[in-house]
């Protein structure tokens, strides 16, 4: 019973906080641009507005297009109960494994890419081709971030990874390398600069947004919410994995986690504000940096004389 209770709380928190984190990032970016920016609650208002709107579909599209947003949201949420968001270990034992979470995120990308192809529009094809290209580089990089801890722990479950991470010094070089790699991966995986621009209206430059271009109304709300949930998940994963210390009682631990999420979101907003978008064919070099840093961290861990 306790597991189910925790899962429900975790899901609620994920759904409830994901738009807030997005609004917070938008607000920080606006501040960097010298603007007031919309309220941090704006994503909630936008979702509510979209929820009431009409749902239009391209004529050529099939059930795939129609079901993809709810599938994507479900997959993101499934991944969400598979990680120890607030309590260790994760609520669902089967999902308490890093590789499954990475796999679920890949599955979500796959579903949306298929749906974008299903629209039979040039932008859908453009978006899914780009998204899958980025995905092919992001997924190994995301996987590589956990590599040092996997080697140290000799396993891939969250509990083992977190214990391993907590066992080395806070300012260890391994952690530093992995953290830089994590920032690079998070920016790419959440569709942020310098990889993708979530705020652009320029169709030709879009990656993730190009896939969602044909969606409207509740469908668009769900697809956007899925992306926000995924963003919060990544932030939570990285803070769990790389900054694993929690003190005090359960409530204090939850508070620390949430504070860390917002700190990480602030970091993402800063990184985005100082960036211009990369040329598409420069992305391998950019994402390759993350893989190299993670590999360096793993090599340090293996042969670092520990």
């Amino acid at each position: 019973m306790r597991i189910w209770g925790e899962a429900v709380v975790q899901l609620g928190l994920l759904l409830g906080l994901a738009p807030l984190v997005n609004g917070f990032i938008q607000r920080v970016k606006a501040a960097f641009q010298g603007r007031h920016g919309p309220s941090v609650l704006q994503p909630y208002f936008t979702l509510r507005k979209l929820w009431r709107r009409q749902d239009l579909r391209p004529q050529a599209s099939t059930w795939l297009f129609a079901t993809a947003p709810r599938l994507a949201l479900s997959i993101a949420l499934a991944a969400g109960i598979g990680i120890p968001l607030l309590w260790y270990p994760a609520p669902v034992g089967w999902g308490g494994d890093f590789i499954i979470v990475v796999g679920l995120l890949a599955l979500e990308r796959f579903v949306l890419a298929l749906a974008a192809l299903d629209t039979a529009t040039p932008f859908g094809g453009l978006g899914s081709s780009r998204e899958v290209t980025v995905g092919a580089m992001v997924e190994p990089a995301l996987f590589a971030i956990a590599l040092p801890w996997m080697l140290m722990a000799g396993g891939t479950s969250w509990a083992m990874l977190i214990t391993a991470s907590a066992s080395i010094a806070p300012l260890d070089l391994v952690r530093f390398f992995a953290l830089v790699a994590a920032v690079i991966v998070c920016l790419a995986e959440t569709g942020r600069l310098p990889v993708d621009n979530p705020d652009t209206h320029l169709e030709l430059t879009m990656i993730h947004e190009a896939m969602l271009l044909e969606y409207s109304g509740p469908q668009l709300a769900m697809a956007s919410l899925a992306q926000m949930v995924k963003q919060l998940l990544l932030v939570a994963m990285v803070t769990d994995l790389l900054l694993p210390w929690r003190w005090g009682g359960p409530l204090a631990q939850v508070g620390i986690s949430i504070l860390l999420w917002f700190a990480a979101a602030f970091g993402l907003a800063v990184a985005e504000s100082v960036s211009a978008k990369l040329r598409f064919f420069r992305l391998p070099a950019y994402l390759g940096t993350a893989v190299i840093l993670s590999s360096a961290a793993a090599a340090l861990q293996l042969w670092g004389g520990r």
């Binding site: 209206h201 030709l204 211009a276």
Partner: protein, 505 residues
Amino acid sequence: MSAALCVTRLDAEALHATVAQRIGSEYRHLTTVVADDRDTNGGFRLDHVFYRPGQPGLELLRVHLSGNRPEIPSLVPLLPAVHWDEREAHDLFGVVPLGHPDPRRLVLPDNWPNELYPLRKDVPWDIQPPKSKGQDWSPLVAEGEGVVRIPVGPVHAGIIESGHFAFSTMGESVLHLDLRLFWKHRGIEKTLEGLHWSDAGTTVERTCACCSASHQAALAEAIEQLVEWEIPPRGAYLRTILLECERLYNHINDIAAIPAGASYAVASMEGTVLKERMLRLQGELFGHRYLFGTIRPGGVCRDLTTADIDRLRQELQQIRPLVERLGQRLLRHPGFMDRAQGTGVLSPSTARDLGAVGPSARASSVGWDLRKDRPTLAYHDLAPEVVTESAGDVLSRLRVRLREAVVSFALLDHLLVRLPHGPITTHAPEGAEEAHGIGVGCNESPRGANVHYLELRQGRIWRYRIRSASFANWPLLAEAVPGNLIGDFPLINKSFELCYACCDR
């Protein structure tokens, strides 16, 4: 006919040889104008307007085309710059350019009836023709295995004007780009016909908000040239100040727009703030943020007091280092520089052939600038330095604007310091009310040469043609984009900063 215009009458056979001779002796083509003269001499008049650097006068090479369905061998093989002029003349007057490489419609919508030429005198200005089959505009595309066509617009995801871009792409690379504009044609030239010249200003200045002063100055120059109207020195200086202020705020705007194309929002916002500061200053000192209603034939509408001049100089002195800082911020940003360098290259030969104007031409080492080549107003006394760059890429177009902004700051300061005393306007000379003839006004707007061709009969406008800088430069975009990544299109587009309204006139 005033002395500033030299008309050479030719027959159609002699035209090619004469144009070739003019091009050979460094004449440059400004515009090509068709007018309906069937009431007086049973045909159409075709004027090719040329100027020669260093000479104040303009030359019109005039061909008389008789009959109701005139044809003339296309000049495009000899002078590619006239390709849009000829297509427009075909659409609006039915003057058929024989052998034009691209005879598709340019201006008229698909469902406009064939054989109905709206700028002919027998077609009323408010005609609403029944929708007809007309012609199907089909884009020029690349074909082959793996080539994907991406149509974009005329409705866009953002608040952008209406343009249709037909990309043929292979993967992420653009193989070919075809443009279609003129979605919101306003018929300004037609509505001007019949107005007295003194009533034309309100319409002409609305051709385009962002080069309104330039359009007003071109109208004023055309009238002044036609009736031999001298403007007082203070009026000439103030008009120059207006033109330079317009250049400055536009350049700041364009400098801010380019990083937006590379998603570098912080720099873009920084520039936008500076532009807004210029606009507010203009609103305060000249009475209109976009300088509407500031220039009139014979001078300018509003004088600057000593306090105004001090205020303007002070503000400009404050804004100048901020613009330079923004420039440095951009030129030192590795991510932005990587996007801008080598992107959207326009070769000097293409720029020259297609008649590129303004910063886009000067970034491809075509150093054409009417302020120096055909100085009017205060440019006689204070010829500005002509800034050129050679790479022809996005970065060059940015650099040209940055350097020209610095030049304009200095120029404005000189103008304000040396502003002569005296009246700002003079009365029209005798007989101006009933003036008869042709005047051509042209000046260097922020985007390049704006050319206005004015024909009056008894003081009323018979024919008005506006050849805007953007009209000349739009075709360049289709040349600069192929070979680049499709994701770089917005960046390239913003580096040209072309105006839709200037086409839809």
